[in-house]
């Protein structure tokens, strides 16, 4: 590692991102709450349990079909809280503004944050701004942090998946990353795909209303479905068996993936979740999800097994099987 530098792959959300955290950050800040490496830390506070999380947003371009950096900054942090089963209590937002940013763009981003916060039923209660010179921050970077209350009886972590659990996804995967990719215009791609970016706390509440025993919840952001499933399999010491034919992916998204040689299971989502639910509760939870506007297309994609501990096995539509590994670096378009 002597002359090694940070490359974009360290930010792609796969194995290299995890190595970065485990080799550099964890040893430095090591503590029991951080070590869980879940979307939110759970802090005991005078008889209550609080979920606490933070995330930074550097998306390019600032605006894309279905959302913008402001909506993303609210949804991302609300969703990290929701994945611990927490109801958001308040958010903070820090802005790094680049010299030359148009006030018009800033206003639009702020309005979009307000809208997303209202959808989530949460307020931005503190914030900060800094301005950096032109060229230093891609226009605008946002960091949000959030705090939420975990209802009694709810204990959701990546380490809780158990053999027999049913794996449910809340809708088609990959829309967000493909929408952003197309909006960048780098690959002269055009299409109708809209980002799935949305606050998921309402959907999670609807799920918890019918079942407080949800074992694991994750929103498959960077690194995608494959990485999240792998992390849960590893943390829970169980195997995950997925029926590939059941994984919902839109035709347009699959088309772009075929063209670029991308694997859709590694694409980022910002308004989807993966739930691990006890077998007996799955039908109820699925029904509750499908009744919610953000879960209409929810579907079962697999189950947890006692075999293949720490691994994700995919059953292919032609009857074969293979392993699903976490993302290893940046996905690059292939040659042919």
């Amino acid at each position: 590692m002597k002359d090694k530098r940070i490359t974009l792959s360290h930010g792609a959300g796969g194995r290299l991102s995890r190595d970065l955290v485990e080799e550099y950050f964890l040893p430095c800040f090591d503590n029991a709450l951080l070590r869980a490496l879940d979307d939110s830390a759970v802090i005991p506070a005078q008889g209550q349990r609080l979920a606490f999380t933070t995330d930074s947003y550097v998306v390019k371009p600032l605006f894309f079909p279905g959302g913008d950096i402001g909506r993303l900054a609210i949804c991302g942090t609300v969703n990290d809280l929701a994945m611990a089963g927490a109801r958001p209590l308040g958010l903070t937002a820090s802005f790094i503004l680049e010299e030359g940013l148009l006030f018009e763009d800033l206003k639009q981003v702020l309005a979009s944050m307000k809208g997303a916060a209202e959808e989530a039923g949460v307020q931005v209660v503190a914030g900060d701004t800094k301005v950096v010179e032109h060229g230093a921050a891609g226009g605008l970077y946002i960091t949000t942090a959030g705090i939420g209350a975990i209802p009694d009886g709810v204990a959701i972590t990546s380490a809780q998946a158990k053999p027999g659990d049913v794996v449910i996804v809340s809708g088609p995967l990959g829309d967000h990353e493909i929408a952003v990719l197309m909006a960048r215009g780098e690959f002269s791609l055009q299409g109708e795909v809209k980002s799935d970016c949305a606050p998921l706390n309402g959907l999670v509440e609807a799920m918890l209303q019918v079942c407080t025993e949800i074992h694991s919840l994750r929103d498959p952001t960077r690194g995608g479905l494959a990485t999240v499933l792998w992390e849960i399999a590893q943390a829970s010491g169980a195997g995950v068996l997925i029926d590939e034919g059941a994984i919902p992916i839109r035709k347009e998204v699959r088309g772009v993936c075929d063209l670029l040689g991308f694997d859709p299971y590694y694409l980022a989502n910002e308004g989807r979740l993966v739930a691990f639910v006890p077998e007996g509760e799955a039908a109820k939870v699925l029904k509750a999800m499908q009744k919610h506007p953000l879960g209409v297309e929810a579907t079962v994609i697999g189950k947890v097994t006692a075999e293949n501990v720490g691994k994700v096995l995919l059953h292919t539509p032609i009857g074969g099987h293979r392993l699903l590994e976490p993302l290893s670096g940046e996905q690059f378009p292939r040659i042919c």
């Binding site: 490359t7 292919t316 032609i318 009857g319 392993l323 042919c336």
Partner: protein, 367 residues
């Protein structure tokens, strides 16, 4: 999103597998030449379904994998020049040269752009008249017509700042070299569908006529590949050795004459170095004399230096089908997709990466 399609696919697959099982009464080693096939075979789990006697081995058909480190070094040397913007296909970014990769050079500040189509490089040249834009054009017959079209387009737009560093290769001469070498035992070929769209069937006929081996030009859906395997086994059963086209919904026997015409107008065949296979006569493409002003290799005076393979790296043998990736002692330990030693671990279409990503562990598909 269509469960019925999946059910049908499953049924057709089991029918094909039954037929394959009947014909697989003795061992048969089939080489899939193309990296796209390798990945499709792994992703669909075909290796876990074939009868034990039918062995699939991966061939040299990954353009990134066969690009010698010396050519990566040339591209890096170019990218380091202040005035140069290097345009390249994405999966070349992580391929190690002798000292670094394009990805590391980009992190260190070089102007390197990942493009999807060669025409994007022409566009970059037009938008950056004060820079020299060099397109590092790696690829097989599938890509060459598009690179030729980009060269023509740059000429039409009068872009004096556009250059091509040609690192293109042709599949049939490499297959001849592989077979002439005699080191690898192959009983038949799953031939690349996309390359064949351009070149058609004739360039492969020497495989059957001179080497007495069957070949099937095959598509990339799992059912295509199973059918390709079945057709190869059927040829053996019926005592035939010929080149068949399974992928007939896309490939015509005569190929695409227009695409070949533009290739021939812009490029001439040349000898070319392949990683693992060495210098192969007539297996590369160089810009014709009329386009010399765009030829990056000539304009920039880039000396080629041979680079030894890293110690322990056996990509050369993997590319020839002589060993399977797990037989290399670096595989999965010192050499991983995150920190690759050899190019076969870099490209998503490389056999080592495919074995690593899809083929390890569960279910016994590490064959």
């Amino acid at each position: 999103m269509n469960p019925h399609k999946n059910q049908d696919e499953g049924k057709l697959a089991s029918l094909l597998l039954e037929k394959i099982a009947v014909l697989a009464d003795s061992p048969m080693r089939l080489m899939e030449v193309c990296g796209t096939h390798t990945v499709a075979i792994f992703r669909s789990g075909i290796r876990s379904m074939l009868p034990p006697g039918v062995e699939l081995i991966s061939g040299p058909g990954c353009p990134v994998c066969v690009t010698p480190a010396g050519e990566i070094d040339q591209a890096i040397a170019l990218a380091k020049r202040e005035e140069v913007i290097l345009a390249t296909f994405g999966d070349l970014m992580r391929v190690p040269g002798s000292k670094s990769s394009l990805q590391e050079e980009r992190a260190a500040g070089s102007a390197i752009r990942v493009i999807l189509s060669p025409l994007d490089a022409v566009q970059i040249a037009e938008e950056n008249p004060d820079n020299t834009v060099c397109f590092f054009g790696v690829g097989f017959e599938t890509t060459s017509p598009a690179i030729a079209a980009a060269v023509m387009e740059a000429g039409r737009r009068g872009l004096a700042n556009f250059h091509l560093l040609s690192s293109q290769r042709l599949i049939p001469p490499a297959m001849r070299a592989l077979l002439s070498g005699g080191g690898v035992k192959i009983d038949g070929f799953i031939l690349p569908g996309h390359v064949s769209v351009i070149i058609g069937k004739a360039p492969y006929c020497f495989i059957a006529e001179e080497f007495g081996l069957p070949g099937v030009i095959t598509g990339f859906e799992p059912l295509d590949i199973l059918e390709g395997v079945y057709l190869l086994l059927r040829q053996r059963k019926e005592g035939r050795t010929e080149i068949e086209i399974q992928y007939s919904r896309v490939v015509q026997a005569e190929g695409n004459e227009r695409a070949r015409a533009i290739m021939e107008e812009v490029f001439a065949p040349c000898d070319s170095r392949w990683r693992g296979l060495g210098m192969i006569p007539g297996s590369g493409l160089v810009l014709r004399e009329e386009f010399a002003a765009m030829d990056g290799a000539q304009v920039f005076d880039l000396p080629y230096e041979e680079v030894e393979d890293p110690p322990g790296c056996r990509c050369g043998e993997v590319l020839q089908g002589l060993i399977r990736p797990p037989e290399c002692s670096l595989f999965g330990t010192r050499c991983t997709p995150e920190d690759p030693v050899g190019p076969c671990m870099v490209s998503t279409e490389g056999s080592c990466a495919a074995y690593y990503t899809y083929g390890r562990g569960a279910g016994g598909n590490e064959r």
